[in-house]
């Protein structure tokens, strides 16, 4: 190693000019030789140590989008016209106008790699990061969602990741005071060494309060607001997010940031006050690539220069070197630019909230980002060369060689039962499978009530948040993805994810208006992965054009693999819709005895990539269900019109698990049974009716007396419909006439038991049970709001509490009586957690 860049001497610009021959560790920092040569060309000399660090992180895959950029352009090129879009891609998050004076902003982002290494902090800071993106737009964050994918449920390491990630999301979001209104949880062996943790945040603001990141006005002051800067997260984006994991992953734990949600909350409140008083010229959050990214992006956006005095940055560790300060990803920090005359007021607000605000420099008109360290110039670069002019690669692409065989192996050829008993057993298996079972174990760890504006939350079709108490103006949000469909066909799979999210939003009564996405893929250096990525982006862009909803922003996460095995390609799509009056939202649950059940859309023999194929046969192959976006639009329009005239008591989207899953969820929501008759065309093959995952379908319940008018509307609007049956009310089973029936308490027990069985109900009580039954109630989970019996099904084995008014006193007794059972389950979980640290490589894919 050469002395001058590695020793204690600060490597200044002058020193770099004087020592052009010094060998620099660019390769270790993730830069290619060509890239290093370009840096030298840009600067006309070798970079200083600080500059090298800055280019390395800003030109990393994570920050520069160098492999994805040329594909992502399609989102803009194919974007349908929208008069609602106030800010689009390129800003921290897209901004959508929802009324004359209100706008919302939303975005989804990944925190996959940190969440594998240190699940709690990785997931927690994932929430923190996306919340600050929303905050940087000028908005008040008002809700979060999370899309989670883990390895095989029975793998011993999965419990470590699941319990840590869920606790981390809850721990951060709950303390920040943001309701968690929904999301998804899925399991697949392809995520074994690389879980996906995608966090979405929604914010709302008066339009006039919208902020931008473009820095203007020479003489304006650059402020660092929030937490002190430490060594955590150094190289997070380049080390973690832009390279494939190897066996040394454990050693990279210091690269994971540590979150402090309390400071995050204070940061939100302080920024709100500053925005409202119009004191801020520009703002940017410090996330991946820390100060380097925030400084260079804001300066580049405004075409200005900056003089930054790095020694002013408040440090947690005084021994930090300049390049470390520039690269640190310490959490809960924001960069603000304010006019000198506002400095006092800004500092006063920061002081009120107990958040340090430190001037670290001034805006200049030099067009150079100049960083000094105790008077010595350690960086002097054109900011755009960091932020906008990174390398762009047209990576080689090739359809994976195994895809032809995989597609030929169709699930439609698998044996399907025809008799009632076998179908009944398969329905229970599918509904209780880890991908489809009750999510209460997860969602109970999240606060869904805080802020008092949550109109719908998990397990509803979409989350609905009220924005205006007077008018009831609300937005609906859903995030969806399906890695198995995308493995079989990334173009179609991405469109299916979009269609599902669009449908989930539409069935609440909302009008879909905008899209965000998080694109999770393997290594872009693998031509097969790059082909998957390009196909998925093309599919998504085409889909958005067809549905008339623009992409407003998103995130790409590459290098999701361990060793050579890439994850299933997993684009996760978030759709935002506007609901003019929350009082008109349509819930998912069956409620009124006698309501008529109708299935909208066409059911085809489409079982490839389905949950039925995976759960019953361990099979993945064939081609995923066909996409018909025109049909999705007609369906959404129909729901909107039917809802306006009160035809709909409930709506539930059909997706994974098909009709069987939709019926089970709709029945269990409020504990109401239903009887359906198999339509003639499925008489000989009822499994297709129950398990097909054909898209563009919705299960609706219509108040009796309105069904004729409703199907008339369906005919008028060109939406196929099939009469299915009737809602039979409390204390009745889910029945498929002539085939089988399942009592709801049996269905609920089976559906609710899966996640607690896999991941435990919490550590065993301390000490011997004291007989108060205090802990007895904790094993299982009830259902959801409004369900009288829902509070606790603990020990429900004996109580069968599906009726609307089963005695709470009896449940008390049941809670006490269930101690032995809970103890058993608790001891299971006692073995989880810390001991299960051994990492596993992904195993061979099923099927």
């Amino acid at each position: 190693m050469t002395t001058s860049t590695q020793g204690d001497v600060v490597d200044t610009v002058e020193h770099a000019e004087a020592t052009p021959e010094v060998t620099q560790p660019y390769a270790e920092l993730g830069l290619l030789e060509d890239e290093y040569v370009r840096i030298r060309e840009i600067l006309g000399r070798r970079p200083t140590r600080s500059e090298l660090a800055m280019y390395a992180i800003m030109w990393s895959e994570h920050c520069s989008y160098k492999s994805s950029r040329m594909h992502l352009r399609q989102f803009a090129q194919k974007a349908p016209p929208s008069d609602r879009l106030l800010a689009g891609m390129g800003e921290n998050a897209g901004v959508v106008r929802v009324s004359d004076d209100l706008a919302v902003t939303f975005k989804i982002e990944s925190h996959n790699h940190p969440s594998f290494i240190e699940p709690y902090q990785g997931a927690a800071t994932g929430v923190g990061g996306i919340v600050r993106d929303i905050l940087a737009m000028g908005a008040r964050p008002v809700a979060v969602m999370d899309s989670l994918r883990f390895g095989a449920p029975e793998d011993p390491d999965t419990a470590r990741v699941v319990t840590g990630v869920v606790a981390g999301i809850g721990g951060y979001g709950n303390c920040l005071g943001l309701p968690n209104i929904g999301g998804e949880v899925a399991f697949d062996p392809s995520y074994q060494g690389n879980p996906l943790v995608n966090a979405l945040c929604l914010g709302v603001m008066p339009i006039r309060q919208m902020q931008r990141k473009a820095v203007t006005g020479p003489g304006n002051i650059i402020l660092l607001l929030g937490a002190r800067t430490g060594r955590d997260g150094i190289g997070g984006v380049s080390v973690l997010a832009s390279a494939t994991f190897t066996e040394e992953a454990e050693e990279r734990r210091p690269s994971v940031q540590v979150g402090d949600p309390f400071t995050g909350k204070l940061l939100i409140e302080a920024c709100q006050e500053m925005y409202a008083a119009d004191l801020v010229v520009a703002v940017q959050d410090l996330g991946g690539a820390g100060l380097t990214c925030a400084l260079s992006e804001t300066a580049a956006a405004g075409g200005t220069g900056m003089d930054v005095r790095l020694e002013k940055v408040p440090l947690r560790e005084p021994s930090m070197a300049p390049h470390e300060i520039l690269a640190s990803e310490s959490q809960e920090r924001m960069l603000l630019v304010v006019a000198p005359q506002h400095l006092e007021r800004v500092k006063k607000i920061a002081d009120k909230w107990g958040v340090p605000a430190t001037s670290i420099g001034v805006v200049t008109d030099t067009g150079r980002l100049v960083v000094t360290w105790h008077g010595q110039r350690v960086a002097d670069v054109p900011p755009a060369s960091l932020a906008d002019e990174g390398p762009v690669y047209a990576r080689p692409m090739r359809e994976p060689a195994d895809l032809v065989l995989l597609r030929a192996d169709r699930a439609e050829t698998l044996p399907r039962p025809r008799d009632g008993a076998a179908l009944r057993a398969q329905v229970l298996r599918v509904v209780s499978s880890p991908d489809l079972c009750d999510r209460t174990w997860v969602t109970e760890q999240y606060d869904r009530y805080v802020m008092g504006n949550t109109v719908l939350a998990q397990p509803e079709n979409a989350g609905v948040v009220r924005l205006d108490e007077t008018t009831g103006l609300s937005v609906a949000l859903s995030v969806d993805g399906n890695g198995r469909y995308c493995r079989l066909d990334p173009y179609t799979g991405a469109q299916l994810a979009l269609a599902e999210a669009y449908r989930n939003v539409a069935v609440t009564g909302a009008t879909p208006v905008a899209v965000t996405n998080c694109l999770n893929f393997g290594s872009p250096e693998d031509p097969g992965v790059m082909w998957q990525f390009a196909e998925a982006v093309r599919g998504l862009a085409d889909g958005c054009e067809a549905l008339g909803v623009p992409v407003t922003g998103g995130n790409v996460s590459f290098y999701n693999s361990t060793g050579t095995a890439a994850i299933n390609p997993t684009p996760v799509v978030g759709v935002l819709g506007i609901l003019q009056d929350a009082a008109r939202r349509v819930p998912m649950g069956l409620r009124e005895n006698g309501d008529v059940l109708i299935l909208l859309g066409e059911t085809r023999e489409e079982l490839s990539g389905s949950q039925w194929a995976w759960v019953v046969h361990g099979h993945l192959g064939g081609t995923p269900p066909e996409v018909d976006l025109a049909a999705e639009r007609r369906l959404a329009d129909l729901i909107a019109r039917a809802n306006q005239v009160g035809h709909l008591r409930s709506t539930h989207d059909l997706s994974e698990g098909g009709l069987a899953q939709a019926l089970a969820e709709a029945c269990l929501r409020y504990g109401s049974g239903a009887v359906i008759a198999v339509p003639d065309e499925f008489r000989d093959d009822p499994a297709v009716l129950l398990f097909s995952e054909s898209s563009a379908r919705v299960l609706v319940s219509v108040p009796r007396g309105r069904e004729v008018a409703f199907v008339g509307l369906c005919n008028e609007m060109g939406v196929p419909w099939t009469p299915l049956g009737v809602v039979t009310g409390p204390d009745t089973p889910l029945e498929v006439a002539d085939l089988f029936q399942i009592p709801l308490d049996e269905l609920r027990r089976s559906w609710s038991a899966t996640l607690p069985r896999l991941f435990g109900s919490g550590p065993a009580p301390e000490g011997p049970a004291d007989g108060d039954g205090g802990d007895g109630g904790d094993g299982e989970h009830g259902t959801d709001s409004g369900d009288r019996d829902g509070a606790d099904t603990a020990g429900a084995a004996g109580t069968g509490r599906d009726s609307a008014d089963s005695g709470a006193g009896a449940a008390d007794a049941a809670a006490s009586a269930s101690s032995p059972a809970t103890g058993g389950s608790a001891s299971r979980s006692g073995a989880s957690g810390a001991k299960r640290r051994k990492r596993r490589r992904p195993r061979g894919r099923k099927g």
């Binding site: 909230w353 009530y449 805080v450 919490g762 108060d772 205090g774 009288r788």
Partner: protein, 225 residues
């Protein structure tokens, strides 16, 4: 009728408490943790959240905040005070209520719609309920397990100061299923579930929580000036 809602750094449900006060027909007044001035309100709510990040212990730092001197004085003078969730923890830390709230026995944060039974209607905050009435209110906490020594628990029971109990399953392991307690005079109540999240049919599992706030309004209307 002015009802103060205290905002500590890290308070989260302060706006929700203010909304509930408004829906009950009273005027919510925002109180700031750093203020030492007399409160000038007819009642006080300490809202839910993570005051001071719950550092050290939930409520342990908030109890030393300047506003708490005034709150404690008001409480001792008979002004109605309601501590919800984190506010309950603050009241215990401030010794305005006995006992303590510790980590849920199962160690998870838990958010669910919880049935509770109103055991005492003789407080400033529960007069509109029927004794024995069961109501549905969200609970959402990680440190909601109420504990006290046996003698204290016996005394709370004997003097009718157990205000509400969990039914249909104890969500956190609280001693004797206790969800809410009061002081001797019934003006200070601490409750772990969140009545302010059950005040509108649109956003809550019920509107059962509103009666806590209408009870206060009625109590204040009937109280000697």
């Amino acid at each position: 009728m002015r009802v103060g809602v205290v905002t500590f750094p890290g308070s989260l449900d302060d706006r929700d408490a203010a909304r509930a006060v408004r829906l009950a027909g009273a005027e919510p007044v925002s109180l700031w943790h750093a203020d030492r001035a007399p409160l000038m309100v007819d009642a006080v709510i300490l809202p839910g959240g993570f005051s001071y990040g719950d550092y050290l212990r939930a409520g342990a730092i908030a109890r030393f905040s300047p506003v708490m001197e005034q709150v404690a004085a008001a409480a001792r003078a008979g002004v109605p005070v309601l501590g919800i969730c984190n506010g309950f923890q603050v009241l215990c830390e401030a010794h305005l209520l006995p006992g303590a709230l510790i980590r849920n026995r199962h160690l998870h944060f838990r958010n669910r719609d919880q049935w509770i039974r109103i055991e005492s209607t003789r407080t400033a905050w529960t007069g509109e309920f029927q004794a024995g009435q069961e109501v549905l209110i969200p609970i959402k906490s990680g440190e909601g397990c109420y504990v006290a020594d046996e003698a204290t628990l016996d005394e709370l029971e004997a003097t009718g100061r157990v205000v509400a109990r969990y039914v249909g399953g104890n969500p956190n392991g609280s001693a004797r299923d206790i969800a809410a307690i009061s002081n001797e005079t019934g003006n200070v109540v601490g409750i772990m579930p969140h009545p302010e999240h059950a005040v509108e049919a649109l956003t809550g599992p019920s509107t059962d929580g509103l009666a806590f706030f209408t009870s206060l309004v009625k109590h204040l209307a009937g109280a000697p000036a």
